[in-house]
Amino acid sequence: MARIGVFVCWCGSNIAETVNVSKASEISGNIPGVVYSVDYKYMCSDPGQTLLKNAIKEHNLTGAVVASCSPRMHEKTFRKAAKDAGMNPYMLEMANIREQCSWVHDNKDEGTDKTIDLIRMMVEKVKRNHPLEDIKIPVTKKALVIGGGVAGIQAALDIAAGGVPVVLVERESSIGGKMAALDETFPTLDCSQCILTPKMVEVSQDPLIEIMSFSEIEKVEGYVGNFKATIRKKARYVDTDLCTGCGTCWLKCPVKVTSEFEQGLGKRKAIYIPFPQAIPSRPRIDPENCLKLTKDRCGICQKVCPTKAINYDDVDRLVEVEVGAIVVTTGYKIMPVSEFPEYGGGRYKDVVTALQFERMVCASGPTLGELQRPSDGKLPETVVFVKCVGSRDPEHHHSYCSKICCMYVAKQTMLYRHKVHNGNCYVFYIDVRSNGKNYEEFVRRAQEKEGAQYIRGRVSQVYKDGEDLVVEGADTLTNSQVKIKCDLVVLATAMEAPDGIKELAQKLGISYDQNGFLTEAHPKLKPIESSTAGVFLAGCALSPRDIPDSVSEASGAAAKVLGLLSKDEMHKDGVVAFVNEATCVACQNCIRVCPFVAIQLKDICNRKGEVLRQVADVNPGLCVGCGTCTPSCPSRSIELKGFTDAELFAEINALAEL
């Protein structure tokens, strides 16, 4: 039999002015099941809470209703007090008689009547409430970072610094990402590799970080605190344990192939490391070009390898790792120029992407920093940069802004002018967006001190007239057509979501937007959380951003991971869905509507292990308690604790006239 206490708060005059609190308390005392009722000036005060605690003990209460302010204000307070007094906290409910009653009504009789109704509704609910326990989830103290660009490197380092082991998975054969290919970085013009490679080395030397390069995520199962990831270690044909990275193999390899790292501007071998500072500094064999693997000839690398590390029979291997949290830092890709034939992309060798330009001016690039245009090696005397190529162009490509182009174009004009002091450089732009620390100053330096000529307008066409490239565009400030003859055109093409990101998102159960960028759980308040608990996001996987943003997000994600993994088990609210397995017929409605992938089918077996039938099964670790599953179930075999049908019906029922 229920023994319920009702506590009506005056909130000074906030409630008492519009509600006859003593009458409310008195009438509430007559509700069947209520054994104690009282009104008090400030329930939330220490004496008020003591009153509650004492009443729970003295009257042996099974439930309590505090009629006061909004539960959003003090539910935690009173539930904690109830818990301290030995009552299950979920057996306490609040009737909101301040925000939703005394403050919105003037008439005291009406306010009092409504108050009594609200109390009665909560009393009836409490009668049906069940004691709930917080959900405890054990956690695996290990993290997985997917993507070894600068964001992934930073996240791995920060997590490891917190004492948690990390597996860093990278699709390419070296970590470093796009940043490793950059020449200098804005707005400081410090050398990209000079600041990145020490971090890469740090990663490789951290005993808590395991790098799995040339590997991809095959499958992810489990849930927050308890993920099991299967990682495909792609066949490398080089035993990374035996290999010392001496370099003999790639020096002797006779096959030359266009280098992806050099953006197609340089060559590599069929057995190669993508760039000299690669981490791990272990080569891989490109099976499509290796003579041994394609034609069963050559085999030189095996012959010259001093440690017998070459294995032509290597195959993909699957490795399972158990982790408690995942950080996704899969970065971006750059649109290739071939998408823009109207700008000469794919037609003229001297129309290049900004990333290619980085390699062209980089001291470690294919020309060792000597600026030569790709077609004939000539020093370009006039260069035209075109911004917003593919970005901010909803009719043809992407509607979004790629965010970093304004800055790197300004940087590249400087890099160009530093190489070619009397060269001409023009920039076609729509707007100049330079809203970072020292960014605006940087752009102005490019324009005012470094001689870049900015033309506001779009380019209509790039074509070749004789030996010259001609850029035709509009100057919308002077309202005139512009035609510039030049030697090199650099297109600041849009940043795009990388290949395979949708498949990865599906494996992780996280969502992505129409552009393929991963979606944050909340654009403002949960910018680095995904919709799946325990999966965090950082860097350009979310949308275009620059290095400082990516790095700070990575650190943020690492902090989230460390917070999550700091305890042996996680505690969460006991308001979760539960299944009545006796009546569930596994129609999958709940599974289909659950936004958090918290419900799965489970087999019910007999003693011999034969499957008798299937039922829905809620993973309380993933369930967030929204209750969308409940109305989707026609036989009501799934319900939400704390908001069961019986509880809500009791509230409705309490409205029937006396």
């Binding site: 999958q588 409605n589 289909r592 009501r636 019906f649």
Partner: protein, 284 residues
Amino acid sequence: MKELIAKAKELLMNKEVDLLIGYQSAGEKKAKPLLIKNPDDADKLVFNEYCLSNLVTYLNRPDIKALSKVAVVAKGCDIRAIVVLLSENQLVREKIFIIGMTCDHVMSPDGTEENIKCSYCKVRNPHLADVVIGAPIDERISKETVVRHEDIEEFNKKTKEEKWNFWKEELSQCIRCYACRQVCPLCYCERCIVDFNNPQWIDTRSNPRGNFAWNIVRALHLSGRCIDCGECERVCPANIPLMLLNRSLQEEAKDKFDWEAGFDPEAQPPLTTFRKEDDEEFIR
């Protein structure tokens, strides 16, 4: 008919199926279900325009579900129920053998005219069947055609008050025999919502209040799922025009979600999914 009997015999003789569900004659202009395990009984099988029953409903019966494979004689309209059951994980495709019958039309329950549902049938040639028996029949309307139910249109000419009085009168006659539920191929819950008592969702008394709640919840639970077989209305001993409700919700599903149940087992049922641009003109 010969082909059907031969196929049935073959299936039962070769033990390809444990049970075959078909139709037998029940007198002049009448047919009723026939459940047979013995190949000799296959001679009783008939198929004609009086074969109204949607035999798919038997596939939900626990004793029949327990069998390893069952053959069912089904018209295109009946197969739509199989599609829904497949999409809702209630049947295992490999465990049923669908003998699809081409069917131009069946008769109305009283046997006097063409059944109303046949005038807008889109599956005269059954889909999804393991074997199709009968000559191909010209579909009278295409799959893309949006069906407007004349009875709904007519009904919607009534005022609010007329509608209310109509249903009050009709539903007061419901005796709560649950024939509508039991015959429905899509009512397969282990425990029906009406059999709940904590909380008591639906008043079990066959008073107008209980009858309203029952018929509301029934229509609602079939919304986006009803495949228009009309069995509930046919078996209702009180002759309540239940399909008026079901058809209007079919129309709503078509209009608002571009959905017709029972054609694609892979598609997401409309009430378990959404589109961001769904209608919300009615939401303030």
